[in-house]
C-alpha cells in the first residue's frame, strides 16, 4: 500500500512507494505487450482528466492508461470548463466531485493546482504536471526506464542537463533519484542554474564535458525555444556548442551509459539526431514506460487487492 493518498509530488514518496509503483508498472508493461492490451482492473471507476494547460503526450498517455485499465474517463480542458465563465476552480472541482468520480488527473499552468484539488474532493488526485513545480509520473517513468537498463537505481550517477531553472523534471526527478540512492549532478549554463542545488541534494556545474565520462545516465532537458532569443542564452549555436549532446560528446560516455530526454526534443539543439536515434538513447522506451507507470499509479491509488490469498 502506498504511503500517500494522492500523487502530487515525488518528495512525498518513500523508497518503498517508488519501488512498489515500479514493480507494479512491470506487470502492466507485460499487459501492454499482449495482443489484447486491456485488463478490467479499474472497471467501474471514473477518472476525470482535467487538463488546464495544453498537453499531448502526457494526456494521451494517461488516456491510454485509463482505457487499458477499463476505467471510464471524462476529458475536460480549461477552455471547455466553466472556469472560463468565471466559476472558481474550487467550485468546478466540487461540482464534478459531486458526480461521484474516483480520481482527478490534473495538468495545470500554476504550481499548486493539484494540491488545491485535493482540498476540494475526496477523490484521489494525480498531478500530471503543475507549472515549474512537479511532474511525478514523468519522474517515475524515468526511474522505470533507468531501472530497466541497470537493474537498480542505487549507486547510479545521473546528470540532468540543460534548462534547469524552468524544468519540472529537476524538481520531481532529482529528489526521486536521491530517494532511491542515486547521485545527481545538475548541468546547465549559469543563467539556467537553480538557486539552491543543495535543496535537491545535488551538485551543480556548467562544465558539461567534465561530467560526461563519469555518469551512467545523461538526462537532456528540452530547451524552451520560445525563450531562446531572450537574455538567458546568447544564441542557439552557442548553447548547442556548450551543452548540446552530439556524437563527439557521446563518444566520451561511460560504457553502458544511456541518454534520456523527456520530450519533445529539439533535434539539433540540445540533442543531435544521431544521438537521439542511437541505441543508447532510451527516449522511446521512456514513452512506452509512461503508459505502464501511469497504469500502476492509478491502480495503486484506486484499487488493488491482496491477491496473495488467491
Amino acid at each position: 500500500m502506498l504511503s500517500v493518498r494522492n500523487l502530487i509530488d515525488t518528495t512525498s514518496l518513500t523508497a518503498d512507494d517508488i519501488t512498489q509503483i515500479l514493480d507494479t508498472a512491470q506487470s502492466f508493461a507485460e499487459v501492454n505487450s499482449r495482443a489484447i492490451k486491456k485488463v478490467p482492473a479499474l472497471r467501474g471507476r471514473t477518472i476525470v482528466n482535467l487538463f488546464l494547460e495544453p498537453s499531448t503526450r502526457t494526456r494521451s498517455s494517461f488516456e491510454l492508461a485509463e482505457k487499458r485499465l477499463s476505467a471510464d474517463s471524462l476529458n475536460m480542458s480549461g477552455s471547455t470548463s466553466s472556469v472560463v465563465k468565471g466559476e472558481s476552480l474550487a467550485d468546478t472541482i466540487q461540482t464534478i466531485a459531486a458526480m461521484n468520480v474516483d480520481m482527478f488527473v490534473c495538468r495545470a499552468k500554476f504550481a499548486g493546482t493539484p494540491h488545491l484539488i485535493t482540498e476540494n474532493t475526496d477523490a484521489r488526485v494525480i498531478n500530471a504536471g503543475d507549472g515549474k513545480h512537479q511532474h511525478p509520473t514523468q519522474a517515475l517513468l524515468d526511474l522505470y526506464t533507468i531501472r530497466e537498463n541497470f537493474g537498480h537505481l542505487d549507486g547510479l550517477k545521473v546528470a540532468i542537463v540543460g534548462d534547469l531553472l524552468h524544468s519540472r523534471v529537476v524538481g520531481s526527478l532529482a529528489p526521486a533519484l536521491r530517494t532511491m540512492g542515486a547521485e545527481v549532478t545538475l548541468v546547465g549554463p549559469p543563467t539556467f542554474q537553480v538557486m539552491d542545488p543543495a535543496w535537491f541534494g545535488c551538485e551543480q556545474t556548467a562544465d558539461f564535458d567534465s561530467v560526461i565520462p563519469d555518469v551512467d545516465v545523461i538526462y537532456m532537458l528540452r530547451v524552451q525555444l520560445e525563450r531562446m532569443e531572450g537574455a538567458a542564452i546568447p544564441s542557439r549555436r552557442e548553447y548547442n556548442r556548450l551543452f548540446g549532446l552530439d556524437t563527439v560528446r557521446a563518444s566520451h560516455m561511460k560504457e553502458g551509459a544511456i541518454v534520456c530526454h523527456p520530450g519533445p526534443m529539439n533535434r539539433g539543439m540540445e540533442i543531435m539526431p544521431e544521438v537521439a536515434d542511437a541505441p543508447y538513447a532510451k527516449i522511446l522506451d521512456q514513452v512506452s514506460a509512461g503508459v505502464a507507470v501511469r497504469m500502476a499509479a492509478m491502480y495503486l491509488l484506486l484499487g488493488g487487492e491482496d491477491n496473495d490469498l488467491a
Binding site: 499487459v31 499482449r34 485488463v39 478490467p40 485499465l69 491482496d306 490469498l309 488467491a310
Partner: protein, 190 residues
C-alpha cells in the same frame, strides 16, 4: 504466515504426489494424448502444481507440455480499497488459439478466481477448451464452475481454511485444514 498447528492434515506429500499422477493420467486420457495440451498455473501455488503436472505428463508421454504462469490480480471482481496488492508475473510463452488449456489452481472455493482466470485467458487467445485441475475442491461455490480434475474433495465450513502447502513456497508439502476467525475467512479461491 500464521503460527500454530493445523486442525487436520488431509493429504501428505505422498498423497499429493499420487493425486498429481492420477490427474496427469486423466488429462492424457481425456485429451487423447498431450500434443494439444498447454498448462497454465495460477500463481503462486497453482503455478507450482502446474509444473509438477507437466513433469508427470512428461514421464508418461515422453515430452513435457509447455507451462505458462497467470497472475489474475487485474481481473478480480472484488477490488476494494487498497490492502497491499501483491503482483506476480504473468508469463504465457505460447499461443492459446485452438489449444486444450489445463488451468491449474491449488484450492477451488467460490469459483471467483477461476472465473477471473478464464477472463484473463480469453485475452490471450481462443483456446479450443479450458479444463480445470485443482488439488482440493472445498465446496461453497458462488458461481457455476466445476473442476474437471480434482485431487481431493474436502467438504469444509466457512470457519475453516483449507491450505495447500507446497515446497519451495512453504516449508513442507501437505493439504491442511486450519480453524480461522469467521471475519478472516478469505483463504483460498475467492
Amino acid at each position: 504466515m500464521e503460527t500454530g498447528t493445523p486442525k487436520a492434515t488431509i493429504m501428505d506429500e505422498k498423497a499429493m504426489r499420487r493425486a498429481v499422477t492420477r490427474i496427469a493420467h486423466e488429462i492424457i486420457e481425456n485429451n487423447e494424448g498431450s500434443a494439444n495440451i498447454r498448462i497454465v498455473g495460477i500463481v503462486r501455488r497453482g503455478a507450482t502444481l502446474a509444473r509438477l503436472l507437466a513433469a508427470e505428463i512428461a514421464d508418461i508421454e515422453g515430452s513435457a507440455p509447455e507451462v505458462g504462469l497467470l497472475d489474475i490480480s487485474f481481473y478480480r471482481d472484488d477490488v476494494t480499497r487498497c490492502i497491499a496488492p501483491v503482483l506476480h508475473k504473468t508469463d504465457i510463452p505460447f499461443g492459446l488459439d485452438g489449444r486444450d488449456i489445463i488451468l491449474v489452481d491449488d484450492v477451488l472455493f467460490t469459483g471467483r478466481t477461476v472465473r477471473s482466470a478464464m477472463d484473463a485467458l480469453m485475452d490471450f487467445g481462443r483456446p479450443a477448451t479450458i479444463q480445470l485441475a485443482v488439488m482440493v475442491d472445498r465446496g461453497h461455490r458462488e458461481l457455476p464452475i466445476r473442476a474437471d480434475y480434482v485431487g481431493k474433495n474436502v467438504p469444509s465450513s466457512h470457519e475453516e481454511d483449507v491450505r495447500v502447502c507446497l515446497e519451495p513456497l512453504d516449508d513442507h508439502t501437505a493439504v491442511e485444514i486450519w480453524d480461522i476467525e469467521p471475519k478472516a475467512s478469505e483463504g483460498g479461491d475467492r
